[in-house]
């Protein structure tokens, strides 16, 4: 008679104990994005003037021409992207205000978009912004070690910029290179919006990422794509193992035999 009640009580007790056991270690949930509100600083406040450069003004015109004149606000993402490239990889409040002015919406509508997308940086990043993929396939293949190697080599924490302003490390969600996991992306803001590149370095190892960083520091551009010399793009290591010969034609069914 009392068995169900006792079982229920013991189960509940277990649950309660579990909650208490968890709490000290798990104090807060971490979020991928930075703060969702702005704090004025000398290099980021609404009073600093900001405008697109003359060459980019042409690009702005081109971007706006893709949309009907009464739907200018659709251009918010391409314009923010352009502003971010021009401003060395991050968006100041005045840059967002400038975009709002161009597309004729209230600034808050631009802030909403910029805070929503994690690829818009609202805090300073390095000239080379290194993004480590942290999603499951890359994590299984050792993305944490890669991030640790980068952070240790550069002497920064995640989200920080090195003293010389050259590098910063961030985390990204899946960038679609799972077959070449683990991978990092290098957003290169060293040549402004004209020479902006966003390159994938795949099949990296903790040793290789450090080499990549050093090459970038010297101004060289490492080979893009897989870093495993034995792989061609996303093909298997050591050459193809299947589909080696000429593909055979599909077998022709002998309909009469059926």
């Amino acid at each position: 008679m009392f068995a169900p009640a006792a079982r229920l009580a013991s189960k509940r007790l277990l649950e309660i104990r579990q909650i208490f056991r968890q709490s000290p270690s798990q104090t807060s949930r971490s979020f991928s994005t930075a703060l969702n509100y702005h704090i004025d600083s000398p290099d980021n406040n609404p009073n600093t003037p900001w405008d697109f450069s003359d060459t980019n003004k042409e690009k702005v015109k081109d971007i706006l021409s893709h949309y009907p004149s009464n739907y200018k606000q659709s251009a918010v993402i391409p314009l923010l992207d352009l502003a971010q490239q021009q401003h060395g990889g991050w968006l100041t409040v005045s840059a967002m205000n400038a975009v709002a002015k161009i597309i004729e919406v209230a600034p808050i509508r631009v802030f909403e978009v910029a805070t929503f997308y994690s690829m818009f940086n609202r805090a300073k990043v390095g000239t080379y912004h290194l993004l480590v993929c942290g999603t499951t396939p890359c994590m299984i293949r050792g993305s944490r070690e890669i991030e640790d190697a980068l952070l240790k080599h550069l002497g920064v924490k995640r989200g920080e910029v090195t003293k010389d302003g050259m590098f910063s490390v961030g985390e990204m969600e899946c960038m679609g290179s799972c077959v070449n996991a683990p991978m990092i992306t290098v957003a290169d803001y060293s040549k402004g919006s004209e020479g902006y590149t966003y390159n994938y370095y795949e099949d990296v190892t903790p040793k290789r990422v450090v080499e990549i960083v050093e090459m970038l520091r010297r101004g060289e551009i490492p080979k893009v794509g897989t870093q495993n010399p034995q792989r061609i793009m996303s093909g298997p290591e050591g050459g193809n193992t299947t589909l080696l010969g000429e593909p055979k034609p599909p077998p022709c069914r002998d309909l009469d035999a059926c």
Binding site: R29, F31, S32, N36, Y37, V105, A106, I108, F111, T115
Partner: protein
């Protein structure tokens, strides 16, 4: 995905119960089984809510009794062919095409729980609380965003719908703090009520709840952003109704929060309404914080007097204290919004009040005396001066009864110099259409071109401004504005600053004339600030010419409007409070100020005897010889007429302060002491007297439309001056004695006007 799973599980269980039903014989065998089971499990309903729901529901289709629509939901068929029929829980309802499923349910008398849906805001569909089951739809449907289709079978009380609501509620409560005991929304919280009605009694969330940084939105709105459930009602209100696009939804996922990004105060004159529309305690009233619980308060349905709109309000009081002011629904006047001044002026009712009758002694100081002495002194002085030298001024907040009594009293003494503040010299009181908002406030929505002459509705009458904004947003109505540069929160053309522009439009040479002529329902709004100008007759004749040219006055549309500034103005003109001589104040020996604080007293002769009857120690008290304390609008029953001619009454919510009395009673008592008793001594008999002067003032909550139009007015030969129009309201937050005494209004003018 989660909801789909829930729905799947729910369907599975119902089909299980159904098979159980069909296998058992139709005669009551199921109850016996369940009573047998009861010996093992005490309450089977708790374990399987669907099963118990299924046992209770009657499988036979029954004839549905007619139901009453919810919350005043009305069906209006613009075109009878557009009517479609849907079934809500089997009950057929006819609704016009384009209505949503939720609205159809409301018409059918079924209340659908909701958080993000608000019938005056755009549809967001992000809270998912309004999920219902629709036949042939694979998953539950968000009823607020789903248009009703002909023959739709909507089910609101099926296990699927119940389970869906329970699941959504669990998600909403996941990050909602359990701080109801210290939350000001407690007791009137949508989340609290709906979690009791539709939620589960347990949750499965064992992680840490999130926390969000509170935002500073200014001195009126207190934020506890951790309580926010991201319904975005406040964002939509600020964007659509208040017209200040400051609030937004920042971030995403569980990091999502409401904010302004760059720290910014909410500089809207309607910001207080976000407190009402917030379904949880995230946005609450800062002045009311931790003051009272809503169930301790007594609500009194009354009328606002801080502007000429006469917004319908509910005064919530506890004992002798007004605790807060809330809006009341009135579709014709304020919809369900009120301005910040209306909502937060109440703390002015507790400060600077006049308690006792006072006489200024020879040393210049006031002494408290009894009513007898004070009235005797006033009567003694008033009988000594010549009738011509007696002047009476009614203040901004005076009710019709007291103005009637004051006028009758002074007339009995032989003086006809009675006026009301803000009407200027020589007010035109003969034609009602000459001082009323003839289009009516709700009628402004029909206008397609506005011409604002010397008026800034945003500061003079925020509720009228909200209507104009509504029209501009809904029908792209054009707005032309003549006046000083002003902050207008909708698209408008600034045509000019002075009367020259008005003349140009009257002559038809101004480019704006084209849009006025093309308009179907042109609406010209003249501010009451024009009343104070020397050349007001010339301005009004120019405006009338424009109205004639653009055919603004037709049998079914009157587009010539005057926007009044004060609550007393319309009634005072109806009662004929027009002074006999223009500069009576300059020659006055006895001045009776009935709550008049904005009258220029510089020209008043030094030897003049001033009686101030009012409720606040405000500007005029400095000049007064005798003070007679009166009751404020929250303490008396009084009749007010708003700018569109709608008559409404205030009701006493709290007792009067100290020895104060109602305004008309003081005048009546004074007339007795002065030996010329007025022939009425009850509110009923004074209203009977009003009936002989302005019978429309007794038709409460009715609009008496003016019959005669401006065409009957005599020709004017006045010269128009070149002086540009001024601002009638310098500081929106401080316009009368109550708001000037209010600490909250002082904070507002300090922080909000400074940041503009």
């Amino acid at each position: 995905m989660g909801l789909g799973l829930l729905a799947l599980r729910a369907t599975r269980t119902t089909s299980a119960t159904l098979t159980r039903f069909s296998s058992s014989s139709p005669i009551s065998r199921v109850p016996t089984i369940s009573s047998f089971i009861r010996t093992i499990i005490s309450t089977p309903e708790l374990q399987k809510p669907e099963a118990s729901a299924a046992t209770q529901s009657d499988p036979l289709p029954e004839i549905h009794p007619p139901r009453t629509p919810l919350g005043g939901a009305r069906v209006h068929f613009t075109n009878p062919e557009d009517a479609i029929e849907v079934f809500v829980d089997g009950y057929p309802v006819k609704i016009p095409k384009g209505m949503t499923v939720l609205q159809a349910c409301e018409v059918a008398g079924v209340d659908i729980p909701r958080f993000c849906y608000h019938n005056r805001l755009s549809i967001a569909g992000n809270c998912r609380m309004c999920l219902v089951e629709v036949e042939k739809s694979p998953k539950p449907v968000a009823s607020c965003a789903m248009p009703a289709l002909p023959g739709m079978k909507i089910k609101t009380d099926t296990p699927i719908a119940k389970k869906a609501r329970e699941g959504v509620m669990e998600f909403l409560l996941m990050n909602h703090p359990l701080d109801c005991p210290i939350c000001d929304q407690g007791g009137e919280c949508d989340l609290q009520d709906q979690s009791m009605a539709f939620g589960s009694d347990r949750g499965r969330f064992t992680e840490m709840k999130r926390s969000v940084v509170d935002k500073n939105l200014g001195p009126l709105v207190k934020t506890v952003m951790t309580r926010c459930i991201q319904c975005t009602r406040c964002v939509r209100f600020a964007t659509e109704i208040a017209g200040t696009e400051d609030l937004g939804m920042l971030g995403r996922g569980s990091g999502e929060e409401i904010g302004t990004y760059v720290e910014k105060l909410m500089t809207s004159e309607l910001s207080g309404n976000v407190i009402d529309i917030c379904p949880v305690g995230a946005l609450t009233s800062k002045p009311f914080a931790f003051k009272a619980r809503n169930w301790e308060l007594k609500g009194t349905e009354s009328i606002d007097v801080t502007d000429a709109v006469g917004s319908n309000i509910r005064i919530d009081s506890r004992g002798p204290e007004v605790m807060r002011i809330l809006p009341r629904l009135n579709e014709d006047i304020n919809e369900e919004w009120i301005s910040d001044k209306t909502r937060f002026c109440y703390d002015g009712l507790k400060r600077q009040r006049l308690n006792d009758p006072m006489i200024r002694g020879p040393d210049g100081r006031f002494m408290s005396v009894g009513w007898r002495e004070a009235l005797a002194l006033v009567a003694e002085v008033v009988l000594k001066v010549k009738p011509k030298e007696i002047v009476g001024v009614a203040g901004k907040l005076s009710d019709a009864e007291s103005m009637m009594a004051l006028k009758d009293f002074l007339n009995k003494l032989g003086s006809n110099n009675v006026m009301c503040e803000g009407n200027g010299v020589n007010p035109q009181a003969d034609l009602r259409s000459g001082y009323l908002l003839n289009s009516t406030i709700s009628g402004l929505e029909k206008a397609d071109v506005f011409l604002l002459v010397g008026t800034q509705p945003r500061t003079e009458a925020p509720m009228v401004n909200a209507r104009i904004r509504k029209a501009v947003r809904a029908t792209q109505a054009k707005v032309g504005y003549i006046g000083p540069p002003a902050d207008i929160n909708y698209d408008h053309q600034h045509l000019g600053t002075g009367p020259e522009t008005l003349l140009e439009i009257a002559k038809g040479t101004h480019p704006f004339c084209a849009s006025l002529l093309a308009a179907k329902n042109p609406s010209i709004v003249v501010g009451a600030g024009v009343f104070e100008r020397e050349d007001k007759d010339a301005i009004f004749s120019a405006v009338e010419t424009i109205a004639k040219n653009v055919k603004a006055i037709r049998p079914n549309w009157n587009g010539l409007n005057v926007l009044l500034l004060n609550a007393a103005q319309a009634a005072s003109l109806d009662l004929g409070l027009v002074p006999e001589s223009e500069n009576c104040i300059e020659s006055a020996k006895f001045l009776y100020l009935m709550g008049a604080d904005d009258t220029e007293l510089d020209k008043l002769p030094n030897e003049a005897f001033v009686v101030y009857q009012g409720h606040h120690g405000d500007r005029s008290v400095y000049r007064a010889n005798v003070i007679l304390p009166a009751s404020a609008f929250s303490e008396k029953e009084g009749t007010y007429e708003n700018t569109e001619g709608c008559v409404q009454q205030t009701l006493p919510a709290v007792p009067t302060v100290g020895d104060a009395r109602d305004d008309w009673k003081i005048v009546r008592a004074l007339s007795e002491v002065a030996g010329t008793p007025l022939p009425y001594d009850t509110l009923g008999s004074i209203r009977a007297r009003i009936r002989t002067v302005a019978p429309n003032l007794l038709h409460v909550e009715e609009k008496e439309l003016p019959i005669f139009n401006a065409e009957l007015k005599p020709e004017v030969s006045q010269k128009m001056s070149k002086t540009p129009f001024g601002k009638a309201v310098e500081n929106f937050y401080m316009t009368d004695s109550i708001t000037r005494a209010s600490k909250i209004m002082a904070q507002c003018s300090a922080s909000l006007l400074a940041s503009k």
